[in-house]
Amino acid sequence: MKKKVEVFTVTKNRRINQEYLILHVASETSLPEILPGQFVEIKVENGPNTFLRRPISIHEVDNDKNEILLLIQEVGEGTRLMAELKPGDKLDMIYPLGNQFSIPNKGNVLLVGGGVGVAPLLMLGRFLKANGATPHFLLGARSENILMDLTDYKKIGDVGVTTEDGSLGVKGFVTDHPLMKEGLANMDLVCTCGPDPMMRAVAAAAKSANIKCEVSLENMMACGFGACLCCVVDTKEGNKCTCTEGPVFDINELKGW
């Protein structure tokens, strides 16, 4: 998979809720192979304070339309400017970057996403199902009104939901959900992406249940392709780059998890 710098064209900007939106960006040529867990680095134009590119997971890929879908949460200037993009606008991206989640061909896989961390899980679910495994989604959010549209997830697997305010699904954190309690024993693999404390809680639960667990880290990145060594995570084999040797790591590789 050769990495490229390419200027995409925005074809759609769909608002999901107050904080989230899905951006569709199209290439003029057919896309290279893209795997679940990989990400892009976006150059934010016209941002006085966005000197560096911004890493964003690949949410989905539409090979028929040569489109990449990005799930974006507005948190600062860069993501706000992305949220303002309109069809026809250009988007300069480096892609595809990073490694991928494991895709077993059988067994139960629990996909735990918190907040915008759900981004890579939809595509992962699709790949798992196509390969013969059974994906189960568990999505956590602060409240129903900032939860994802669940339609696409439900087409792929069963969907558990937790909200901190109890407005939908189980009240509490993802680790309060039955899927992470009684359900966990049935799983062969747990894949998680979301805020650090959430991933650590999920990892701890998986570890004590002796289930393989993969986490997708969101370390600060300056380049995204292995050149700067800024994005390192402490592993049992020393520092590794989150951008090239991750973002997905088996928790057994990581120190302190």
């Binding site: 990495k3 150059k43 560096l52 370390n219 600060m220 292995g226 050149a227 700067c228 390192v232 402490d234």
Partner: protein
């Protein structure tokens, strides 16, 4: 046809565009994006005598028109470079320089000695911005005596092109430039990063694990240009200029201020193809200004 080749004290670069150490990996990281052979030269990652893990995460913070880093010379050591990396990159048809770092003079010397025999390494860049562990941790490069001492020691053992990279965190950069020139440097490169710091006001914590770190990017360009111009007026050896070069215009400014060649650092992170664009941009500028030899740009700033 314009001439882009420049000579740095006997070694010829096919064009003045090099890459800055620590921002270009070993070149391999950029193979997907550009043809490395199109560059005048590359300076590979900071290499030390022994393996170094570098600093703890977080190692970077974005700042206005720039970034701070605190990588801390993470590398596998010079032997690993010689045995594992050099064989993979020696085929590049470009000047491959190794950036040599250390915390004691003996480390520098031993590392440089080992690099003597690598046929396709025409020179080393001595990074004297590292903390001098024997003398209280102040960097070698900020005091003239220690800068001279490390340059002299390495000069004694290293046979090929010796480029010395100057720190900008000094009162008088010309004093140190003259010192290392006298100690046998074949060229000087500047600037390394400015020492800076960033704080997260909400968390009331520093952004970097090391609290302070190195500032790079366009924000430092005015300081870098000033130092290149000062050093140009102080030494005879060629100058390799850097600090915030983002495009061909910036590169030309450094040459006008006195640089024979330039290095592109942080800009590679934002556009991994920028170096070859800069080569093309220099050609365009020369055509537009009817300049046939890029050497005519060097120190070409008009001062009344």
């Amino acid at each position: 046809m314009v001439n882009l080749a420049v000579d740095i004290n006997g070694y010829s670069l096919k064009n003045p565009v090099m890459t800055a150490s620590g921002t270009f990996g070993f070149g391999e990281e950029y193979e997907d994006f550009i043809n490395i052979d199109d560059l005048g030269g590359i300076v590979v990652k900071g290499t030390t005598l022994h393996h170094r893990e570098g600093n703890a995460y977080p190692r970077m913070a974005e700042t206005p028109a720039g970034m701070l880093n605190a990588v801390g010379l993470q590398n596998k050591g010079v032997d690993y470079f010689i045995n594992n990396i050099y064989p993979r990159i020696k085929h590049y048809n470009t000047g491959i320089f190794v950036n040599v770092s250390g915390s004691a003079i003996e480390d520098y010397v031993e590392t440089a000695e080992k690099l003597n025999d690598l046929e396709n390494i025409p020179g080393i860049e001595l990074n004297i911005s590292c903390p001098n562990v024997k003398e209280g941790g102040m960097s070698f490069g900020v005091h003239c005596p220690s800068a001279v001492a490390v340059t002299e020691a390495v000069r004694k053992v290293y046979k090929k092109h010796l480029m010395v990279k100057l720190s900008p965190n000094v009162t008088d950069v010309t004093e140190i430039a003259k010192g290392v020139e006298g100690a046998g440097a074949d060229s000087v490169s500047l600037i390394n990063t400015l020492l800076g710091m960033a704080i997260n006001a909400e968390k009331r914590r520093p952004e970097l694990s090391t609290i302070t770190g190195g500032l790079s990017g366009p924000c430092i360009k005015p300081v870098a240009l000033r130092m290149v111009w000062q050093v140009y007026n102080a030494v005879k050896v060629p100058i390799i200029g850097m600090g915030g070069i983002m495009n061909a215009t910036d590169a030309i400014e450094f040459m006008l201020a006195g640089a024979t060649a330039i290095q592109v650092g942080t800009a590679n992170f934002i556009d991994p193809t920028i170096t070859v664009k800069i080569v093309d941009g220099i050609k365009d500028y020369m055509n537009r200004h009817s300049i046939t030899d890029v050497n005519n740009l060097i120190g070409g700033m008009i001062v009344d």
